[in-house]
Amino acid sequence: MGKVLIFGTNVASLRAAANFARYGHKVVLLNRGNYISEIRSQLQIQQPRNLCNGCLKLFLKKMYRITGNITVYHNSEILSVEGAPGNFKVKFRTTPPVVDEWKCLGCDICVEKCGATVKRLPLSPGIYTIPNPENCVDVCPAKAINIPEERIVEESAEAVILAPEFEEADVSEFGYGLKNVLKSSEFELLFWGVGEDIKHLTRPSDGKIPRTIGFFAPAGFKSFLGSYEEVARILWQAIKVKELSKDVDVHVYLREVRLYGKGQLRLLDIARDKGVNLHIIDNFTISQSGDNVVVNGDELELFVIAAGQKPSEWWSKLADAAGIEIENGFALTRPYSLETTRDGVFAMGEFVRPLSNPESIYDGTAIVREAERYISPPVVEEDTPHEYIKDDFNPKVALFVCECALEGLSLNVKADHTVYIPYLCLEPKRIISEIKKSGANRVVFAACSPMHFETKLEKIADRAGIPPTCIHYVQLKEHGARVGADSRKISALVRAAIEKVKRDYYVDIPRKDPVKAALVIGNSVAALVIAAELSRHIKVYLLADDFTPPEDVTGILPASLRMSRAEFLKWYESLKNDALSRVTLLNGEIESIEGKIGSFRTKIGDTVIEHGVLILADDGEIEKGDTIGGGVNTHHARLGAILAARHGNVPKYELMRSYSLLDLSPPSATRGEGDTITVKVSQLTLKIAEMLSLELDEDGFVKGVEEDPLLHVENTNIKMRPFDQYTGGIFISGFSHSPMPVESQIIHGEAVAQNALFLMREFDSPAGKWLSVTNPRRCAGCGICVEACFTKARYIDEEDKIAKVEPALCEGCGACANVCPSGAAFIISYRADQMFEIVKEVVK
């Protein structure tokens, strides 16, 4: 088992921590704040509107609980990193938080007895401040209260990963500080917690709803570093304002339309369709006029600026402590790597360059691959299978009521065995013995938020032999006394749970044991990276013919950009030789691809191979032109900008000419239209996409789940979850995915490889007990459920002519059950008869 130390809590580092833990490594996570996400990351600054504190940590918290591999230190600061890869000694300052957010039960005893104050946050008990914690330590039943004494700690680690958080750039030169000028993050917070309603859109000076609003992203002005989400975000905000009220006059001012993501240019069209006025400007002026501001001659009642990123000043101190180099304020990495100039010390995410949120996620996944050579092999503890109590016909219900959650209300319910416990979650042994003593085969927990304790309590019941499908959880606390509810309401809720659970039965939720082999299709750099990485662990088939060295669209990071063609070719040869030394190289036409995640069967010529994952990462042709930009893939602009930077021969740009660190010295192009630099997708990519019914974007690239153009802008929680199972075992990279520079192909390729490795172990259905199933006797094979299934878990079986489910893909949303008119599709833990029982009881 390896051990890494991660510093920082942004999207990249949270994901990295979860990924290392999940893969079977120990993680020491150093958090700068008093609780995780107190220090805002790029995502929190850009998209605070719908982003909840709890969602941000959901995946991490899950891995923390399931694996037990994560240790967190709060209020920490690295003092020194001694030693060498495989054996670093990291010394840091840390102060425990007064209340440990992951131990806290939210019982509020400290509020009552010690005068604690609470900042309430979603999906968490809240953040508590206690005036004299010394006097309160013994009050807390969960022992979550610490005395905040600073101490110096030394932890050993085999690799060190640095990923400190985003810092918003100063935008005072663009008018921030004038009356009724907000940063985009401040604008979004107008709606936080209260909902999207025009009545919350008020300006600071007089609380009135502005009739004219301007949005502005300074990217492109004075080498202003964009992070490449803010333009998308302000376009999105402008669209949202128009949706709230057509009467508001909305203006957007941009110098360069910098969007990250496939098809994101659609945002421009949507904005125009909704009546947003777009101004592409080369000069920017702003002045105050009474309560309003005048921007480039337009009088606006409210003005919103999206600040991009600036490298933080304290980063150089961090760099000194860690013994790494800084360039332009960002951590300097080696060519084509996240490794810094010091062996075994890595930097990623916002610390390395301004980047988009998906790129942060790639970093946080690729890092597991990058660190591998320094750390010990992963160790995963297998669950020991045990016998469940199976009695479908004689339900005997044990009801466990948490008195902490009850808060003095009384319950008027009847169960076969009822137990009241002061703090349910603190007494696993008692629960197990009560279940065993009572002979119960169904369990109802009436406690607090399921987000905190459902998994834990289910695990406890599991140890007593109760299968997950025979457990139901009632949220008593937050639906009861705390919101002023009466005993009648909570009794109805608990009775509903008892009636529901009586109708539960044992279901063996299938696990998937995948074929431990991968098929990589294509000859892009990404394909070689993936093949090289995967072939260290599993059997890899590589279907590719010629390997001509690619164009040197090297990358944006200084070390890559400076690479000479000769160095590049040398690097490419060594990658190719490394990959080819371990893979089985295949040649020929793909005749058919059958099967699903974990068990594909592909026929190539006369050979049939079996593999658990399929990776499509082909090369494409770069069509050179004289203009940066092109297509709807904004990635084209980056590719063009890199070519321009390397060869200095592109005189024009359409909407954007530079990208990320290239903004420090953008190519000297002038605005104009011409033949754009585009990537033409290969025939092979198109062929495979058609065989697998994969959707293509307008430029012909294969759409990836994580980069659906608009979802990527809107959906914040999607960025918090793992993508591996989500992809259906099919991963897209290289020029099959998007016009990626070589550097991006490597990081993306490593991320894909790591995601594929997660699928190479036996795994559960992501739906768990919410798994969808079909009653074959009833299913008429109409396919409504197939259309409703967003993961493509449902399909019509060609032989039986009915809808079936691939459990490895099902996420348990239940959309299929809802649409099925005959009730043939259903969720095993929420059948219609159970739902009817619940409805019957709750109305009482």
Binding site: L710, R777, R778, C779, A780, G781, C782, G783, I784, E787, A788, I796, K801, V819, P821, S822, G823, A824, R831, A832, D833, F836, K840
Partner: protein, 354 residues
């Protein structure tokens, strides 16, 4: 005449090997049923255009092809409503259309199956009335207010025009139909049926206005007061293609004794059997968006509840919401689809409901 010409058409197509089977109505003692024939010698047993519609022909095609393509090239002779049902059921994966050629004709309407058994109003009477430009008083309510009483482009393959022409004409409705006609050496003909459609739609507009069931509980209870809860409307509905109806699931709708007594306490007495109205409403919310308007629910009702007024008008409202005309529109049915930017009027609380 019109049937004779159709039989000749079938025979030619069979002789030329263009089709190997035909599905069309055949007479019985007091009615007509659909029949499947596979030989030229049986063609004369068919009456392709019948004065009654006992079943929906598309429902028969569903039975034949649910589990796989028709093994032989089959000509199906359908009324416009049946053809629309055909198109709708293809979307629901219930009919495999590949080996089927659909012929659709100008429909004079059909007589209620029970009326026909009593006094045989023959096709000729209906056709004569049609030619005189009048919707027959003898046809079913659903026929009188039919929105599409004539063939529609891309619904079926071959059109057979009867209205306003002494000599029936064939014309293509799809590319497949066009190829079929040219293989038969038939030159497409023309006829103007605009008036036939118009008078139906005028009727329909009035019907929608006058026959609406209103008044919430009282309205629906009164309307369904003689309902036997026999579920025959569902059995005859071609769109209710489920193998087993949700509302016949005993794990859901069979209750412990206590429940009856609790309900009786709570609702101040209950009518038995329970869940009668829920069944009809449930059918509407499940499949109302795809109601074709064949009116067979009403024909099937043993106690003559004019059920199509319930299904047809509510379905009309539903289909307007989704801008969807079942059997006509090429889009997937509303229950299989969604848009990101739509239906905002159903979000939140819009006061002023009934």
């Amino acid at each position: 005449m019109s049937n004779e010409k159709l039989r000749e058409f079938i025979k030619t197509a069979m002789s030329k090997g263009l089709i190997g089977a035909v599905m069309a109505p055949t007479p019985t003692e007091t009615s007509y049923t659909h029949a499947l024939i596979t030989s030229k010698r049986d063609v004369d047993k068919l009456v392709p255009i019948a004065p009654v519609m006992q079943w929906n022909g598309a429902d028969m095609l569903r039975r034949i092809t649910r589990l796989g393509d028709a093994p032989r090239k089959t000509l199906a002779i359908l009324r416009p409503c049946e053809a629309r049902t055909f198109k709708e059921l293809v979307k629901f994966n219930q009919i495999k259309p590949d080996n089927i050629i659909v012929l659709v004709y100008d429909c004079p309407g059909t007589v209620h199956v029970r009326d026909y058994a009593k006094k045989k109003i023959e096709l000729e009477t209906l056709l004569d009335e049609m030619q005189s430009g009048k919707i027959s008083d003898s046809v079913r309510e659903a026929c009188k207010i039919c929105e599409y009483p004539v063939p529609v482009e891309n619904v079926g393959d071959v059109g057979y025009g009867l209205f306003g022409t002494d000599d029936p004409v064939f014309f293509p409705l799809s590319e497949k139909g066009s190829e079929f006609l040219s293989a038969l050496g038939i030159t497409p003909g023309e006829r103007d049926a605009e008036k036939w459609v118009r008078i139906h739609r005028e009727n329909r507009a009035k019907w929608l206005e006058n026959e609406r069931i209103t008044g919430g509980r009282k309205g629906i209870e009164d309307f369904l007061s003689s309902c036997l809860n026999c579920h025959n409307c569902k059995n005859m509905c071609p769109i209710c293609f489920c193998k087993e109806c949700f509302f016949e699931d005993r794990t859901i709708f069979e209750y412990n004794p206590d429940k009856y007594y609790d309900w009786a306490d709570d609702k101040e007495g209950i009518r038995l059997p329970t869940d009668k109205v829920l069944f009809h409403l449930g059918r509407l919310v499940h499949m109302g968006t795809s109601c074709i308007g064949c009116g067979l629910c009403q024909q099937a009702c043993p106690v003559d509840i004019p059920l199509y007024r319930l299904f047809g008008i509510v379905a009309h409202d539903l289909q307007k919401v989704f801008n969807y005309t079942p059997g006509i529109t090429d889009d997937p049915p509303p229950v299989m689809d969604f848009r990101e930017d739509e239906l905002h009027e159903f979000e939140g609380l819009r006061e002023g409901g009934e």
